[in-house]
Protein backbone atom coordinates (compact mmCIF):
# COMPACT_ATOMS: atom_id res chain seq x y z
CA UNK A 1 0.00 0.00 0.00
CA UNK A 2 1.31 3.36 -1.04
CA UNK A 3 4.81 2.67 0.16
CA UNK A 4 7.12 5.50 -0.73
CA UNK A 5 10.86 5.41 -0.70
CA UNK A 6 12.37 5.11 2.71
CA UNK A 7 15.91 4.95 3.98
CA UNK A 8 17.70 2.49 1.81
CA UNK A 9 14.61 0.60 0.80
CA UNK A 10 13.53 -0.41 -2.62
CA UNK A 11 10.05 -0.51 -4.01
CA UNK A 12 10.13 -4.25 -4.35
CA UNK A 13 7.83 -6.48 -2.40
CA UNK A 14 7.33 -7.89 0.10
CA UNK A 15 7.67 -5.03 2.50
CA UNK A 16 10.24 -5.07 5.25
CA UNK A 17 7.69 -5.79 7.93
CA UNK A 18 6.46 -8.80 6.00
CA UNK A 19 10.03 -10.06 5.85
CA UNK A 20 10.35 -9.60 9.62
CA UNK A 21 7.09 -11.49 10.12
CA UNK A 22 8.36 -14.36 8.02
CA UNK A 23 11.70 -14.33 9.79
CA UNK A 24 9.88 -14.70 13.09
CA UNK A 25 8.33 -17.84 11.68
CA UNK A 26 11.82 -19.15 10.95
CA UNK A 27 11.85 -18.36 7.23
CA UNK A 28 15.50 -18.00 6.33
CA UNK A 29 14.60 -16.96 2.79
CA UNK A 30 13.12 -13.80 4.28
CA UNK A 31 16.46 -13.06 5.92
CA UNK A 32 18.15 -13.56 2.58
CA UNK A 33 15.76 -11.07 0.97
CA UNK A 34 16.47 -8.59 3.71
CA UNK A 35 20.17 -9.15 3.10
CA UNK A 36 19.73 -8.63 -0.64
CA UNK A 37 17.96 -5.39 0.09
CA UNK A 38 20.25 -3.92 2.73
CA UNK A 39 23.46 -5.94 2.75
CA UNK A 40 25.23 -3.49 0.45
CA UNK A 41 24.29 -0.52 2.57
CA UNK A 42 25.32 -2.25 5.79
CA UNK A 43 28.67 -3.26 4.28
CA UNK A 44 29.28 0.24 2.95
CA UNK A 45 28.56 1.72 6.37
CA UNK A 46 30.73 -0.83 8.16
CA UNK A 47 33.60 -0.30 5.74
CA UNK A 48 33.41 3.46 6.21
CA UNK A 49 33.69 3.02 9.97
CA UNK A 50 36.22 0.22 10.38
CA UNK A 51 38.18 0.84 7.17
CA UNK A 52 39.16 -2.79 6.65
CA UNK A 53 37.19 -4.98 4.19
CA UNK A 54 37.63 -8.14 6.28
CA UNK A 55 36.46 -6.42 9.45
CA UNK A 56 33.61 -4.80 7.54
CA UNK A 57 32.56 -8.25 6.36
CA UNK A 58 32.52 -9.44 9.93
CA UNK A 59 30.34 -6.50 10.93
CA UNK A 60 28.04 -7.24 8.00
CA UNK A 61 27.72 -10.89 8.96
CA UNK A 62 27.31 -10.05 12.62
CA UNK A 63 24.60 -7.50 11.81
CA UNK A 64 22.43 -9.99 9.95
CA UNK A 65 23.04 -12.73 12.47
CA UNK A 66 21.97 -10.35 15.19
CA UNK A 67 18.95 -9.34 13.14
CA UNK A 68 18.06 -13.02 12.86
CA UNK A 69 18.62 -13.70 16.53
CA UNK A 70 16.81 -10.50 17.51
CA UNK A 71 13.93 -10.73 15.05
CA UNK A 72 11.45 -11.06 17.89
CA UNK A 73 12.70 -7.91 19.59
CA UNK A 74 12.36 -5.53 16.66
CA UNK A 75 9.83 -2.82 17.55
CA UNK A 76 8.25 -1.27 14.48
CA UNK A 77 7.05 1.63 16.58
CA UNK A 78 10.62 2.74 17.21
CA UNK A 79 11.66 3.05 13.59
CA UNK A 80 11.85 1.33 10.28
CA UNK A 81 13.64 -1.89 9.59
CA UNK A 82 16.61 -0.27 7.78
CA UNK A 83 17.08 2.12 10.69
CA UNK A 84 17.18 -0.88 13.01
CA UNK A 85 19.72 -2.63 10.81
CA UNK A 86 21.88 0.46 10.44
CA UNK A 87 21.81 0.90 14.20
CA UNK A 88 23.01 -2.67 14.75
CA UNK A 89 25.70 -2.26 12.12
CA UNK A 90 26.94 1.09 13.34
CA UNK A 91 27.07 0.00 16.97
CA UNK A 92 28.93 -3.17 16.04
CA UNK A 93 31.39 -1.30 13.86
CA UNK A 94 31.99 1.41 16.46
CA UNK A 95 32.57 -1.24 19.15
CA UNK A 96 35.09 -2.87 16.88
CA UNK A 97 36.72 0.46 16.08
CA UNK A 98 37.07 1.31 19.76
CA UNK A 99 38.79 -1.99 20.43
CA UNK A 100 41.53 -1.26 17.92
CA UNK A 101 45.02 0.14 18.40
CA UNK A 102 45.00 3.89 18.08
CA UNK A 103 47.49 4.07 15.23
CA UNK A 104 45.73 1.46 13.19
CA UNK A 105 42.47 3.23 13.74
CA UNK A 106 43.84 6.56 12.59
CA UNK A 107 45.46 4.98 9.58
CA UNK A 108 42.22 3.39 8.52
CA UNK A 109 40.23 6.54 9.02
CA UNK A 110 42.60 8.32 6.70
CA UNK A 111 42.43 5.64 4.10
CA UNK A 112 40.42 6.70 1.06
CA UNK A 113 37.60 4.45 0.05
CA UNK A 114 38.97 4.38 -3.46
CA UNK A 115 41.52 1.83 -2.25
CA UNK A 116 38.89 -0.82 -1.89
CA UNK A 117 37.00 -2.52 -4.63
CA UNK A 118 33.96 -0.63 -5.75
CA UNK A 119 31.23 -1.73 -8.06
CA UNK A 120 28.16 0.36 -7.80
CA UNK A 121 26.23 -1.64 -10.34
CA UNK A 122 26.56 -4.73 -8.18
CA UNK A 123 25.06 -3.01 -5.15
CA UNK A 124 21.66 -4.48 -5.76
CA UNK A 125 20.43 -3.89 -2.23
CA UNK A 126 20.20 -0.16 -2.77
CA UNK A 127 19.71 -0.01 -6.51
CA UNK A 128 16.21 1.38 -6.11
CA UNK A 129 17.26 4.06 -3.68
CA UNK A 130 19.30 6.08 -6.14
CA UNK A 131 17.03 9.09 -5.90
CA UNK A 132 17.33 9.10 -2.15
CA UNK A 133 21.05 8.53 -2.47
CA UNK A 134 21.35 11.59 -4.67
CA UNK A 135 19.24 13.60 -2.27
CA UNK A 136 21.41 12.58 0.66
CA UNK A 137 24.53 13.48 -1.25
CA UNK A 138 23.11 16.88 -2.13
CA UNK A 139 21.93 17.47 1.43
CA UNK A 140 25.35 16.61 2.82
CA UNK A 141 26.99 18.83 0.24
CA UNK A 142 24.84 21.68 1.53
CA UNK A 143 26.40 21.46 4.98
CA UNK A 144 29.29 23.69 5.93
CA UNK A 145 32.64 21.96 6.32
CA UNK A 146 32.40 22.38 10.09
CA UNK A 147 28.94 20.86 10.20
CA UNK A 148 29.94 17.93 8.02
CA UNK A 149 32.97 17.31 10.18
CA UNK A 150 30.83 17.28 13.32
CA UNK A 151 28.43 14.78 11.77
CA UNK A 152 31.22 12.52 10.53
CA UNK A 153 33.06 12.48 13.83
CA UNK A 154 29.85 11.65 15.64
CA UNK A 155 28.38 9.05 13.31
CA UNK A 156 31.37 7.40 11.68
CA UNK A 157 33.97 7.80 14.40
CA UNK A 158 31.60 7.22 17.30
CA UNK A 159 32.84 10.20 19.28
CA UNK A 160 30.67 11.85 21.90
CA UNK A 161 29.98 15.56 21.68
CA UNK A 162 32.53 16.21 24.42
CA UNK A 163 35.13 14.11 22.60
CA UNK A 164 34.49 16.01 19.38
CA UNK A 165 34.90 19.31 21.19
CA UNK A 166 38.19 18.11 22.63
CA UNK A 167 39.32 16.67 19.30
CA UNK A 168 38.64 19.93 17.46
CA UNK A 169 39.61 22.26 20.30
CA UNK A 170 36.21 23.91 20.19
CA UNK A 171 33.76 24.76 22.99
CA UNK A 172 31.26 22.01 23.68
CA UNK A 173 28.37 24.38 23.07
CA UNK A 174 29.71 25.15 19.61
CA UNK A 175 29.84 21.48 18.71
CA UNK A 176 26.33 20.86 20.01
CA UNK A 177 24.98 23.78 17.99
CA UNK A 178 26.85 22.67 14.91
CA UNK A 179 25.49 19.16 15.21
CA UNK A 180 21.94 20.36 15.77
CA UNK A 181 22.08 22.80 12.87
CA UNK A 182 23.45 20.11 10.60
CA UNK A 183 20.78 17.61 11.58
CA UNK A 184 18.06 20.23 11.18
CA UNK A 185 19.35 21.05 7.72
CA UNK A 186 19.37 17.38 6.76
CA UNK A 187 15.98 16.74 8.31
CA UNK A 188 14.41 19.63 6.43
CA UNK A 189 15.73 18.38 3.12
CA UNK A 190 15.33 14.66 3.62
CA UNK A 191 12.15 14.32 5.65
CA UNK A 192 9.93 14.64 2.58
CA UNK A 193 11.75 11.64 1.13
CA UNK A 194 12.12 9.44 4.19
CA UNK A 195 8.81 10.48 5.73
CA UNK A 196 8.09 11.96 9.13
CA UNK A 197 7.79 9.89 12.26
CA UNK A 198 9.36 6.77 10.92
CA UNK A 199 7.07 4.20 12.44
CA UNK A 200 6.82 1.15 10.20
CA UNK A 201 3.46 0.30 11.65
CA UNK A 202 1.92 3.35 10.03
CA UNK A 203 3.10 2.37 6.64
CA UNK A 204 2.52 -1.32 6.12
Amino acid sequence: MGRSRSAGTSLEQPADLELLRRMRLGDEAALEMLYARYGGLVFTLALRIVGDPELAREVLQDTFLRAWDGRDTYDAGRGRVPWWLMGIARNGAIDLLRSRPHQARLREQERPLSQVRQNESADRGVADALALRRAVGQALAGLSDNQREAIELAYYRGLTQAEIAQHLGQPLGTIKSRTRDAMEHLRTLLEPLIGAGGSESRRD
Binding site: G79, A154, I164
Partner: protein, 245 residues
Protein backbone atom coordinates in the same frame (compact mmCIF):
# COMPACT_ATOMS: atom_id res chain seq x y z
CA UNK B 1 8.32 25.76 20.88
CA UNK B 2 11.05 23.38 19.88
CA UNK B 3 13.65 25.56 21.62
CA UNK B 4 12.16 24.56 24.95
CA UNK B 5 13.11 20.98 24.23
CA UNK B 6 16.58 19.39 24.18
CA UNK B 7 16.98 19.57 20.42
CA UNK B 8 20.76 19.58 20.58
CA UNK B 9 20.74 16.46 22.70
CA UNK B 10 18.19 14.82 20.39
CA UNK B 11 20.39 15.44 17.37
CA UNK B 12 23.46 14.04 19.12
CA UNK B 13 21.43 11.11 20.46
CA UNK B 14 20.32 10.12 16.98
CA UNK B 15 23.94 10.15 15.85
CA UNK B 16 25.00 7.95 18.75
CA UNK B 17 27.11 10.81 20.09
CA UNK B 18 25.78 11.24 23.60
CA UNK B 19 27.45 9.92 26.73
CA UNK B 20 25.42 7.55 28.90
CA UNK B 21 24.02 10.04 31.46
CA UNK B 22 22.79 12.35 28.71
CA UNK B 23 21.31 9.41 26.82
CA UNK B 24 19.36 8.43 29.89
CA UNK B 25 18.08 12.00 30.27
CA UNK B 26 16.89 12.00 26.67
CA UNK B 27 15.24 8.62 27.13
CA UNK B 28 13.37 9.97 30.14
CA UNK B 29 12.34 13.12 28.31
CA UNK B 30 11.04 11.51 25.15
CA UNK B 31 9.06 9.03 27.21
CA UNK B 32 6.76 11.90 28.20
CA UNK B 33 7.22 14.42 25.37
CA UNK B 34 5.57 13.39 22.13
CA UNK B 35 7.05 16.36 20.24
CA UNK B 36 10.58 15.35 21.13
CA UNK B 37 9.84 11.69 20.51
CA UNK B 38 8.73 12.59 16.99
CA UNK B 39 11.73 14.85 16.49
CA UNK B 40 14.04 12.12 17.66
CA UNK B 41 12.51 9.63 15.21
CA UNK B 42 13.00 12.17 12.44
CA UNK B 43 16.64 12.62 13.39
CA UNK B 44 17.09 8.87 13.59
CA UNK B 45 15.70 8.61 10.10
CA UNK B 46 18.21 11.19 8.95
CA UNK B 47 21.06 9.33 10.66
CA UNK B 48 20.01 6.07 9.01
CA UNK B 49 20.19 7.69 5.59
CA UNK B 50 23.73 9.02 6.09
CA UNK B 51 25.36 5.86 4.68
CA UNK B 52 23.54 6.58 1.42
CA UNK B 53 25.92 9.51 1.06
CA UNK B 54 28.83 7.08 0.78
CA UNK B 55 30.07 5.53 -2.42
CA UNK B 56 28.45 2.10 -2.36
CA UNK B 57 30.73 -0.89 -1.98
CA UNK B 58 29.27 -4.33 -2.69
CA UNK B 59 29.78 -6.89 0.05
CA UNK B 60 31.96 -9.94 -0.60
CA UNK B 61 30.00 -12.70 -2.28
CA UNK B 62 30.84 -15.19 0.46
CA UNK B 63 29.32 -13.03 3.21
CA UNK B 64 25.81 -14.35 2.74
CA UNK B 65 27.06 -17.92 2.65
CA UNK B 66 28.68 -17.42 6.05
CA UNK B 67 25.52 -15.90 7.49
CA UNK B 68 23.37 -18.70 6.13
CA UNK B 69 25.79 -21.36 7.36
CA UNK B 70 25.77 -19.80 10.81
CA UNK B 71 21.97 -19.68 10.97
CA UNK B 72 21.76 -23.30 9.92
CA UNK B 73 24.46 -24.30 12.37
CA UNK B 74 22.60 -22.56 15.18
CA UNK B 75 19.44 -24.40 14.17
CA UNK B 76 21.23 -27.72 14.16
CA UNK B 77 22.67 -26.99 17.58
CA UNK B 78 19.28 -26.14 18.98
CA UNK B 79 18.05 -29.55 17.91
CA UNK B 80 20.88 -31.32 19.73
CA UNK B 81 20.32 -31.93 23.44
CA UNK B 82 24.02 -31.60 24.27
CA UNK B 83 24.39 -28.23 22.62
CA UNK B 84 23.70 -25.87 25.53
CA UNK B 85 26.53 -27.21 27.64
CA UNK B 86 28.89 -27.25 24.67
CA UNK B 87 28.05 -23.68 23.81
CA UNK B 88 28.49 -22.59 27.40
CA UNK B 89 31.90 -24.24 27.42
CA UNK B 90 32.83 -22.39 24.26
CA UNK B 91 31.68 -19.11 25.74
CA UNK B 92 33.68 -19.67 28.90
CA UNK B 93 36.84 -20.31 26.92
CA UNK B 94 36.78 -17.10 25.00
CA UNK B 95 38.23 -13.92 26.45
CA UNK B 96 37.76 -10.91 24.25
CA UNK B 97 37.13 -7.18 24.44
CA UNK B 98 33.75 -5.97 23.28
CA UNK B 99 32.42 -9.42 24.00
CA UNK B 100 29.05 -8.98 22.40
CA UNK B 101 30.50 -8.13 19.02
CA UNK B 102 33.42 -10.45 19.22
CA UNK B 103 31.47 -13.57 20.10
CA UNK B 104 29.52 -13.36 16.91
CA UNK B 105 32.71 -12.55 15.04
CA UNK B 106 34.34 -15.62 16.48
CA UNK B 107 31.45 -17.85 15.61
CA UNK B 108 31.24 -16.36 12.16
CA UNK B 109 34.94 -16.71 11.61
CA UNK B 110 34.85 -20.29 12.73
CA UNK B 111 32.27 -20.98 10.08
CA UNK B 112 34.23 -18.96 7.55
CA UNK B 113 37.34 -20.89 8.47
CA UNK B 114 35.63 -24.18 7.80
CA UNK B 115 34.35 -22.89 4.51
CA UNK B 116 37.80 -21.65 3.59
CA UNK B 117 39.13 -25.13 4.21
CA UNK B 118 36.47 -26.66 2.04
CA UNK B 119 36.87 -24.34 -0.93
CA UNK B 120 40.62 -23.92 -0.84
CA UNK B 121 42.42 -24.35 -4.12
CA UNK B 122 45.04 -27.10 -4.30
CA UNK B 123 48.23 -26.06 -2.61
CA UNK B 124 49.87 -26.54 0.76
CA UNK B 125 47.26 -28.86 2.15
CA UNK B 126 45.93 -27.78 5.52
CA UNK B 127 45.22 -31.39 6.30
CA UNK B 128 42.53 -33.01 8.39
CA UNK B 129 44.12 -31.83 11.62
CA UNK B 130 43.44 -28.24 10.61
CA UNK B 131 39.85 -28.95 9.88
CA UNK B 132 39.60 -30.58 13.28
CA UNK B 133 41.26 -27.51 14.74
CA UNK B 134 38.69 -25.24 13.18
CA UNK B 135 35.94 -27.17 14.90
CA UNK B 136 37.48 -27.00 18.35
CA UNK B 137 37.03 -24.21 20.85
CA UNK B 138 39.79 -21.67 20.76
CA UNK B 139 40.60 -18.08 20.17
CA UNK B 140 40.76 -15.97 17.06
CA UNK B 141 43.18 -13.06 16.94
CA UNK B 142 42.60 -10.50 14.21
CA UNK B 143 45.63 -8.93 12.57
CA UNK B 144 44.98 -5.66 10.77
CA UNK B 145 47.12 -4.29 7.97
CA UNK B 146 48.70 -1.41 9.87
CA UNK B 147 51.61 -1.17 7.45
CA UNK B 148 49.82 -2.72 4.51
CA UNK B 149 46.24 -1.44 4.58
CA UNK B 150 44.82 -4.06 2.24
CA UNK B 151 46.30 -6.91 4.27
CA UNK B 152 44.34 -8.83 6.87
CA UNK B 153 44.88 -12.03 8.80
CA UNK B 154 43.30 -14.28 11.38
CA UNK B 155 45.29 -16.33 13.83
CA UNK B 156 43.29 -19.25 15.09
CA UNK B 157 44.61 -20.67 18.35
CA UNK B 158 43.12 -23.85 19.71
CA UNK B 159 42.92 -24.29 23.46
CA UNK B 160 45.59 -26.98 23.25
CA UNK B 161 48.00 -24.49 21.64
CA UNK B 162 47.81 -25.50 17.99
CA UNK B 163 47.56 -22.58 15.68
CA UNK B 164 47.05 -21.55 12.09
CA UNK B 165 47.24 -18.25 10.33
CA UNK B 166 45.01 -17.29 7.40
CA UNK B 167 46.34 -14.31 5.48
CA UNK B 168 45.03 -12.22 2.63
CA UNK B 169 46.10 -9.02 0.91
CA UNK B 170 49.89 -9.40 1.01
CA UNK B 171 52.06 -9.17 -2.09
CA UNK B 172 54.11 -12.15 -3.28
CA UNK B 173 57.76 -11.76 -2.32
CA UNK B 174 61.00 -12.49 -4.20
CA UNK B 175 62.78 -15.71 -3.29
CA UNK B 176 65.23 -14.02 -0.92
CA UNK B 177 62.51 -12.50 1.25
CA UNK B 178 59.88 -14.00 3.55
CA UNK B 179 56.98 -12.91 5.69
CA UNK B 180 57.48 -13.67 9.35
CA UNK B 181 54.97 -13.86 12.17
CA UNK B 182 56.33 -12.76 15.54
CA UNK B 183 55.08 -13.08 19.09
CA UNK B 184 56.54 -10.28 21.18
CA UNK B 185 56.70 -11.21 24.87
CA UNK B 186 57.13 -8.65 27.63
CA UNK B 187 60.77 -8.21 28.49
CA UNK B 188 62.25 -10.72 26.06
CA UNK B 189 63.05 -10.86 22.35
CA UNK B 190 60.34 -11.60 19.78
CA UNK B 191 59.71 -15.25 19.02
CA UNK B 192 58.99 -16.51 15.51
CA UNK B 193 55.61 -18.13 15.06
CA UNK B 194 55.91 -18.86 11.35
CA UNK B 195 57.54 -17.83 8.12
CA UNK B 196 55.53 -17.86 4.96
CA UNK B 197 55.00 -16.63 1.45
CA UNK B 198 51.71 -15.89 -0.25
CA UNK B 199 50.25 -17.17 -3.47
CA UNK B 200 49.53 -15.04 -6.53
CA UNK B 201 46.24 -13.93 -5.00
CA UNK B 202 48.02 -12.70 -1.89
CA UNK B 203 46.73 -15.46 0.37
CA UNK B 204 48.43 -17.92 2.67
CA UNK B 205 47.44 -20.59 5.11
CA UNK B 206 50.18 -21.29 7.61
CA UNK B 207 50.72 -23.55 10.57
CA UNK B 208 51.90 -21.51 13.55
CA UNK B 209 54.01 -22.34 16.59
CA UNK B 210 52.08 -20.54 19.30
CA UNK B 211 53.70 -19.80 22.69
CA UNK B 212 52.36 -21.90 25.53
CA UNK B 213 50.51 -18.86 26.80
CA UNK B 214 49.53 -15.63 25.12
CA UNK B 215 49.14 -13.95 28.50
CA UNK B 216 52.72 -12.72 28.47
CA UNK B 217 52.64 -11.72 24.79
CA UNK B 218 52.39 -7.99 24.29
CA UNK B 219 52.12 -7.90 20.52
CA UNK B 220 51.73 -10.18 17.54
CA UNK B 221 53.06 -8.77 14.30
CA UNK B 222 53.91 -9.73 10.74
CA UNK B 223 57.01 -8.28 9.11
CA UNK B 224 59.01 -8.88 5.96
CA UNK B 225 62.44 -10.37 6.67
CA UNK B 226 65.35 -12.02 4.80
CA UNK B 227 64.59 -15.61 3.74
CA UNK B 228 64.52 -18.27 4.90
CA UNK B 229 64.00 -16.80 8.35
CA UNK B 230 64.95 -13.54 10.02
CA UNK B 231 66.90 -13.95 13.23
CA UNK B 232 65.53 -10.71 14.64
CA UNK B 233 62.53 -8.51 14.02
CA UNK B 234 63.91 -5.85 11.69
CA UNK B 235 61.18 -5.19 9.15
CA UNK B 236 58.35 -2.71 9.22
CA UNK B 237 55.16 -3.95 10.91
CA UNK B 238 52.90 -4.95 8.04
CA UNK B 239 50.20 -6.32 10.30
CA UNK B 240 49.50 -5.95 14.02
CA UNK B 241 47.16 -7.95 16.17
CA UNK B 242 44.15 -6.17 17.57
CA UNK B 243 43.68 -6.54 21.34
CA UNK B 244 42.87 -10.16 22.08
CA UNK B 245 42.64 -10.25 25.84
Amino acid sequence: MIDEHPVEALAAYALGSLASPERAAVDAHVATCTACAARLRAYQGVAATLPLGLTPVPPPSEAWEAISANVQQARAHRKGSATPSKLAGWLRLVRWPAVAVAMSALLTWNVALQRELVRRAPGPAPGPEVEALSRRPGRVVILAGTGKPEASARLFVAVDGGGHLAVSGLSPLPRERTYQLWFVPAGSPPVTGATFGVDSSGRAWVKVAVPSSLDNVQAIVVTEEPAPRGSALTGTHLMDALPWR
